[in-house]
């Protein structure tokens, strides 16, 4: 009997010890604080970083590898003509305030996003929707005005998450979604706290609570990770410190790809860049690897067109614009600029642009092009470069997923106007079979590569520094998200 009691006592101690040592909370740092907590009302990526998949979910969702899978819609039927999508919603899904998520909420969310007075930053995602009809509480039918092969992809964006009319008024400060974590508190300037949603419809996450902190200064970021104030820093801002973390057994460094095609944007309507020879010369004057090494400390994958290299449809076209300054000089001479010319290089604040800009300016100088650098803040950049198109060259990372379609818009800031490409994009939109889409996408990549629309530099990398015991963090960023639903601690 005594032995039995000892046994029970011992196992009780072992049990409590086990519980005590298993960590179930996490503190994640990201660089920028979200300006508000409404993923459907602003372009700031930080909003999605904190809330996407954790608090809010859409009809479909992105997985870590970039694939699109079922979200709040369990399944869907697409009509023969590709115009009607019938979504079958999951049953028993509730919002964090206890109200049921049903077809009315889906209709409300989609109608709100496409309404006249909508302030949705990606309103174009919803432009093709002509009607949303509630068939029954679990079924909603979306009618499109023309077939759209990327409709399910579009519905996975953070801007297309499902919200409820009951909680919409306070969404910016008190977000109520259907996700695996519910929002608790936001101490502005410092942190956002959330806790596990035990009523979640899917697999309940391993973490009980999560805190997001916002540390923008690279030195402070380094200190916070070293002092173990944070468990993970997603998008660590100081690449020069990464080798130090890699060598430290306390930490792991995950370096993956984002959807950010970093390009030297060229104003295609501004002489002399309206001449394809000049653009080709610029492309050959650039040494991508030197920029990746010099500006990004070696983190980044070279690209030869405007497409993410981890996408299965990516075509390697780097050979079209190999680093060849002699060829660049020859092309310039043929175009009538043997003595070179002077242009502007307007740089937004991120380090890829500021550091990369210096290197590109010196590379262009080698072939006789003088690029006068001016550093702009984002708001200024949007005004001068993006809106007024008052620039020769600029460096920007285009972070929206699958955004090759911007080359079909002649009013887009780099002003590429090619009817053949525009037609091709229309065909793409109307094509729903995967093989056909792949072929069109390959052709599209080739066209813009050979037209030397922009200088294609590299795919922006994202580095995450985390405690060695953390599992399940996303390596790549198919969309801006710090998805904690699959994250756990191993002991």
């Amino acid at each position: 009997m005594k032995t039995f009691q000892t046994l029970i006592g011992a196992s009780a101690i072992a049990l409590t010890a086990g519980i005590a040592s298993a960590q179930s909370d996490i503190t994640v740092a990201i660089q920028l604080e979200p300006p508000n907590l409404d993923p459907t009302g602003g372009a700031a990526q930080a909003i999605d970083s904190v809330l996407y998949s954790n608090v809010f979910e859409g009809l479909t969702r992105f997985m870590a590898d970039g694939s699109v899978v079922a979200g709040l819609a369990e399944s869907w039927d697409i009509s023969e003509d590709g115009l009607t999508y019938t979504f079958n919603l999951r049953s028993g899904v509730t919002f964090h305030d206890g109200t049921l998520m049903d077809a009315d909420d889906v209709k409300f969310s989609l109608d709100r996003a496409r309404a006249e007075d909508s302030t949705n930053a990606q309103k174009a995602l919803f432009a093709g929707i002509s009607d949303v009809t509630v068939t029954d509480p679990q079924t909603v039918t979306v009618t499109l005005s023309e077939p759209n092969g990327s409709f399910l992809f579009n519905m996975a964006w953070g801007d297309a998450v499902i919200v409820a009319p009951e909680s919409i008024a306070d969404i910016a400060s008190n977000p109520i979604g259907t996700g695996a974590f519910k929002f608790d508190d936001w101490v502005q300037g410092d942190r956002i706290e959330m806790s596990r949603n035990d009523a979640y419809w899917g697999a309940v996450p391993a973490l009980e609570s999560a805190t997001f902190r916002f540390i923008s200064d690279p030195t402070a970021a380094f200190a916070a990770v070293m002092a173990e104030d944070v468990d993970a820093f997603v998008g660590f801002p100081a690449p020069e410190n990464l080798p130090q973390f890699e060598a430290d057994p306390r930490f792991q460094v995950l370096t993956g790809n984002t959807e950010g095609e970093t390009i030297l944007s060229i104003n295609n309507k501004m002489p002399p860049f309206d001449n394809v020879m000049v653009r080709k010369a610029v492309a050959h004057a650039i040494d991508r690897q030197a920029i990746i090494d010099g500006a990004m400390f070696g983190y980044g994958t070279p690209i030869g067109t405007h497409f993410a290299p981890h996408n299965p449809d990516y075509v390697d076209l780097i050979s079209n614009s190999q680093y060849d300054p002699e060829l660049a000089k020859k092309l310039l001479a043929e175009a009538g600029f043997a003595d070179g010319f002077t242009t502007t290089l307007k740089l937004p604040p991120p380090s890829y642009a500021r550091r990369g800009g210096e290197i590109i300016a010196s590379q262009l100088r080698e072939v006789g092009i003088t690029a006068e650098i001016s550093n702009l803040e984002w708001a200024q950049w949007l005004e001068e470069v993006f809106k007024a198109k008052d620039f020769g060259l600029s460096i920007v990372s285009h972070t929206e997923p699958m955004d090759i379609g911007i080359y079909a818009n002649p009013d887009y800031y780099f002003q590429y106007d090619n009817p053949k490409f525009q037609e091709l994009m229309e065909t793409l939109t109307a094509t729903t079979d995967p093989a056909g889409r792949s072929a069109i996408l390959a052709e599209a990549q080739e066209i813009i590569s050979l037209d030397y629309v922009n200088g294609y530099l590299f795919e922006l990398a994202i580095s995450t520094v985390a405690k060695a015991e953390l599992n399940g963090l996303w390596l790549n960023q198919p969309t801006a998200a710090v998805d904690l639903t699959g994250v756990s601690w191993s002991n």
């Binding site: 700031a44 502005q188 200190a223 916070a224 104030d229 984002w378 708001a379 949007l382």
Partner: protein, 315 residues
């Protein structure tokens, strides 16, 4: 005394009016459309127009200025464009970090500077004086953000006595809050203490050369007694001026230190609001800081009069 206070009050009001106009004008001419910043590169023109109307940006400039001033007079600072919450609430939250931090730093700096300055003056030319002066020289020369980083390296990363930054909030305990503010307060205080100690010393030395000190000495007071009874009080006027300026600097100038320690204070709020073109927040916070600086200067002016009876009859 009353006339003196009144004239100060009138100049205070005029300063505030001029400041509000300058702040509004300067911030409005900064290039960059807040709406396109918020909605990003894929926003459509009709979406932008809808947002501008929502933020009141379609109103003419003078109407917005009058609305802004009238709102502030009633304590209504409007709603932040990006955060979509009342600016007054945001400021109220942040003040409870910035104000304690500034006071904490000011107290530390005064506690260090007074003894150091008085000691150096009383030991003029001797080894103690040289030691204090060299130390303050160093204190003035070291930039506070660099000093802050070194302290983080030693006390947060190596010794783990403090966390590297952040602020838990006063609702989670007073001492936790104080602990989080300690490294930032020290970083802010040391350079200020160095300046203050030098001013204290030179002001005292000036006094020690005055006739009334010689008279006091002739009366039979020791050098030390003359210093404590007569010189220190008279040396306080320039020191008070410096303290007034320093408080304003500590409150408004914590921007860099708040970045280094990622503290949710007013400085960080301005920093974020400027880069997000949240103009209404920038205008209101800057106006508030101007208000505080002007009121502190007003208080310092009144304090002069308390220390120096001659000022009460002048002006």
């Amino acid at each position: 005394m009353i006339r003196y206070a009144l004239s100060r009050l009138i100049s205070l009001t005029l300063s505030l009016i001029v400041a509000s106009m300058v702040i509004f004008a300067v911030i409005e001419v900064i290039p960059g459309d807040p709406a396109s910043f918020m909605l990003g590169v894929n926003a459509r023109e009709d979406t932008l127009a809808a947002l501008r109307a929502e933020m009141g940006l379609d109103q003419p400039l003078h109407v917005r200025y009058v609305d802004w001033v009238w709102g502030m007079l009633r304590g209504d600072f409007g709603n932040s464009w990006t955060y979509k919450t009342p600016v007054a609430d945001m400021i109220a939250d942040r003040v409870w970090v910035s104000l304690p931090l500034a006071l904490y730093a000011l107290i530390l700096s005064t506690l260090l500077a007074f003894p150091a300055g008085i000691y150096a003056a009383s030991r003029r030319g001797r080894i103690g004086d040289t030691a204090v002066m060299s130390a303050t020289q160093l204190g003035v020369a070291i930039p506070n953000f660099w000093f802050a980083m070194i302290m983080v390296l030693i006390f947060a990363i190596n010794l783990r006595w403090f966390s590297a930054g952040g602020f838990p909030g006063w609702d989670r305990g007073f001492w936790g809050g104080m602990k989080a503010l300690t490294l930032p307060a020290i970083s802010l205080a040391l350079p200020q203490a160095a300046i203050l100690a030098r001013v204290m010393r030179s002001s005292l030395l000036d006094m020690l050369g005055e006739d009334f000190i010689r008279t006091a000495r002739a009366k039979g007071l020791s050098k030390r007694q003359a210093l404590w009874r007569h010189a220190v009080r008279n040396a306080l006027i320039p020191v008070l001026t410096i303290i007034g300026l320093q408080f304003s600097f500590l409150l408004a100038g914590g921007i860099i230190i708040e970045q280094v320690f990622f503290l949710p204070g007013l400085g960080r709020l301005i920093f974020q609001a400027i880069s997000a073109r949240d103009l209404i927040v920038v205008e209101s916070v800057v106006m508030l800081l101007v208000f505080v600086v002007i009121v502190v200067n007003f208080a310092v002016d009144l304090a002069y009069a308390a220390v120096d009876p001659r000022l009460r009859t002048q002006a």
